[in-house]
């Protein structure tokens, strides 16, 4: 691919590698469903060793935290035109309800605003197809790398 190819397209091609290259993502069994401009969808399957409440068998909220954090990071990355380092500034998560036992958790993140220094990302986590019934919601801000070449203020398309 030429150098003109948008970063997210190059990433979509190498999407699986993004996750494969992150030891904790690999340990949780995360997999990329899709990466498009400023958006990312990542899944993690229910597993016995990831249970947070042994009485109900519900997956630990920490797994959802890690999934949302990672998916938000990928979405922020997919809003860039060239690679740069990112660091999570803050992450706010609302846990609306426990995920269904045994269900795959799917996180969908959108980087809705990118400034010179900060990426603003929203994400939802689902345990089924119903988009009106999320398990959790996240709001994250990422500090974008200090390299002077980046920082073209841009708003990703809807």
């Amino acid at each position: 691919m030429s150098d003109d190819t948008p970063l997210w397209q190059r990433m979509a091609t190498a999407g699986a590698m993004m996750i494969q290259g992150t030891p904790q993502a690999r340990a949780l069994g995360m997999r990329v469903v899709s990466i498009t401009e400023a958006r990312a969808v990542v899944e993690v399957d229910w597993r016995e060793d990831l249970v947070g409440d042994p009485e109900t068998g519900v997956i630990a909220s920490g797994v959802v935290t890690t999934l949302l954090d990672n998916t938000c990071g990928v979405a922020a990355f997919a809003a860039l035109s060239e690679p740069m380092s990112t660091a999570t500034l803050d992450l706010r998560i609302d846990y609306m309800r426990p995920a269904k036992k045994g269900a795959t958790i799917r996180a969908e993140a959108h980087c809705y605003r990118m400034t010179k220094t900060v990426a603003f990302v929203r994400a939802f986590a689902f345990d089924g197809a119903d988009e009106t019934d999320p398990v959790a919601a996240a709001q994250a801000a990422f500090m974008m790398g200090t390299s002077g070449r980046m920082g073209k203020n841009r708003r990703p398309p809807k």
Partner: protein, 153 residues
Amino acid sequence: MSDAPATPTRVNLSELSAMFQAVPYAKFLGVQLELKGDELTAILPFKDDLIGNPMLPALHGGVVGALMELTAVAQIFLAQGGKKIPKVIDISIDYLRSGRPVDTYARAHVTKLGRRIANVRVEAWQFDRADPIAALHGHFLLNSDQGEGETKA
């Protein structure tokens, strides 16, 4: 867990550890607890698969968040005198510096222990307690039988 009396009682480390041991995800991360008097410290020994950024390398932000969440849960458990495991309603995490590939510690403070809700603040650090790598502020649902914010199980 068995029914505890209404007034908080002392929970010892073995009860606390038993509660923690029963949580598969705590084992997955490898979180350990240390209790001195009423001061609880959660310890996350470093291991390779906790890495989130192999270039730096740095701990996964989600792992640091999860450690602080678990610390909050254990601290509430302690403050309540050992009841059921509280459920997280919301958390807000400030990432202050990247987590190095070393052991991480966390301590929580229950700002308010209400009838149904606990407000908790947590800090995580590595080399210097006064120089935390992350801070968490969260609300937790204390386990009554059927609490709010809980529609399905």
